[in-house]
């Protein structure tokens, strides 16, 4: 059982490193960074308490929002999905990404207190 899990994981990693274009790997690295940041914030909250609750919320929501926007970007610039995004060029996706981030950061900074 564990054998099959390990073999699945190793096969997945192998496929990932070979067949994913570099651009997507860059975005994936960014995603990992966001994930870790959010996880550490949550860990702090669990261990120490929610004292400035609004700050915790804004930080955590910033991470969650950024993650989602990055995932959207990744989907839209993946050349394999080109058929589904005929009207959206990668540049357009990036521009949307930036604009949505501006709005997100405005709200987050407002709430961070």
């Amino acid at each position: 059982m564990s054998n099959s899990v390990i073999s699945v994981i190793s096969r997945f990693l192998e496929e990932y490193t070979t067949s994913t274009p570099n651009k997507l790997k860059v975005v994936d690295a960014y995603l990992l960074y966001i994930l870790l940041t959010g996880a550490f914030q949550f860990l702090y909250c669990l261990l120490v308490g929610t004292f400035p609750f609004n700050s915790f919320l804004s930080g955590f929501i910033s991470c969650v929002g950024s993650f989602i926007l990055a995932v959207c970007l990744r989907i839209q610039i993946n050349p394999q999905n080109k058929g589904e995004f005929l009207t959206v060029s990668p540049e357009r996706a990036f521009a949307d990404f930036l604009f949505a981030h501006t709005v997100l950061h405005l709200v987050v900074v407002n709430f961070i207190g």
Binding site: L32, Y33, V48
Partner: protein, 630 residues
Amino acid sequence: MALLRLVSLVVLVLALGAHALTPSHHLTPSDLVRLQDVLSQPYTDLKAAYLSIVGQSKLGLSVAGSNEACDFIKSNLDPSSVESLFYAAEASQTIASCEIPVSNETRDLLHATVSEDSTMSQIHQAVSALSFLGLPLASQEVVSALKARISKEDNVLAITLALQTASHLSQQAELGEILEEIEDLAARLDDLGGVYLQFEEGLEVTALFVSAAYALSDHVGVEPPLKEDQVIQLLNSVFSKKSWDSLSEAFSVASAAAALADNRFHKPVIVSAVGPATVSHSQPLLQLQVMDVLCQSLSSANVLVETATSAATKATILSQTPFTQRDGIFQLNFMASQPASGYYQFSVAISGDSRLVGNHIELKVKVSTKVSINNMDLSVVDKDQSIGTKTTRVEYPNKAKSSFIADSHQNFAMSFQLVDESTGVELTPHQTFVRLHNQKTGQEVVFVAEPDSKNLYKFELDTAERKAEFDSISGTYALYLMVGDATLENPVLWNMADIVLKFPDEEAPSAIQSKNLYVPKPEIQHLFREPERRPPTVLSNTFTAMVLSPFLLLLLLWFKLGANVSNFSLSPSSVLFHVGHAAMLGLMYVYWTQLNMFQTLKYLAIIGSLTFLAGNRMLAQKAVKRLERK
């Protein structure tokens, strides 16, 4: 329920209305003096002179300095003005031997003014001037002019002036229609609460109406169509104001007072008691003043008590008893009928003149008396045997020689009678209290003594039962009796005896907290909201480092993946884009530290639009490059 109350209220009001009204406001002698003072102020122009001179004459006063007044009138007269002629004519007529020279032009001017084209006020002034100067009038012409003006000027003041004008005309003229205007005007009066009747134009107009209506009615000999209650209500309105805003208002009040005091049909009578309406053995006479509106005593009147009933027992004490008159004051010796003390309702009727109005009055008279305390017996009674161990009789105002001792096995008892000093009738005053006062501690306890069925007052103090009121403090108490009532002339506070009370279970008396309510209370310290407990700085710093560490990981990964900036084109749009983007991120930081949302949005709009334009350009170039590569 509400309907029932409304119906009963209406019935009550009607019942009260059926009872004749009496004046609730009238001019007292001091009000009259004030009115005279207002009217006798020095005057500077002809109108003020007229108001002052004629006003004072209406009050029955002779004008001081009649020669100077006459000269003043003559010198200020303007023969070309109808108004000036009117003031001069009536004023000079009031002063004895003051003649105004009249020329033909003056007479013609006055006659010419009497026409349909002049205002009512002008017609009034012209006709009055002609009348007071003794010049002939064409009464029928005046009447037709008045009728024409009345239909054109329908306001209250104009019609009042018409009435006043008509009172100067010959009795042969047809004044019937003008006389009817009195009734029409009376219908326009506003009834305020059933007490006042006045025009909405105000006090002055109401007063002028009163004097004009009576002037015309007297002249024609027809009783004015005003009911008794209406006359009283008009009187209330006119005399409700005791200080007058202007000379003309004072004049109108004086004029109305003169009209009400002396006309052929209605004479309101004012009845007031001399001092408080109280009689007693020392002051047995009930004295009433009966006056007309100008505070002149009606010495020819007959004052009769129709009924006098006791408020408590409703028994009739007097019936159809006349007052005797002495020096203008009507007196009745009420104590001669030996009334018991208390309140009595008097119904008084005044007769002697068929014109009297408001001549039935209700008066509340108090009969007061002196109380004496009889048979005051103080005793200490044993609870078990109920045999008085010691009964002492104390006479007012003496104090018992020896003090009484009562402990928990004994009761202290008191009995006495309260009687009217002169008649010996038993009394039950409103306040009969027994007060015990501890001299050492200042504590006092008050009880009520109640009469039994035979009007014998009894009081019993059960030491054991009442210890709570005394806070169980034993000691010597001074015993007082307090008697008081509205109808008693001699309220009583009598220190009868000293009692030594012994209470069981006396706790070491906690120092008497004198129930001092007015000392400063303990100060309240405000507790500021304590800031929340924060985690230690080391922990926070550690976690901050932890949270920032993935950024390093990101940079590492990117480096490993081979991400670089080699493809960075230095076109102005991309430079501008990156600069703008960096500026936006910087703005976020500044927003966090300093700005508010509105300022941020403003800056964001500026920077954002620049960045957008640059970015658009840059991405377009990139897209072109990408398509070229394909």
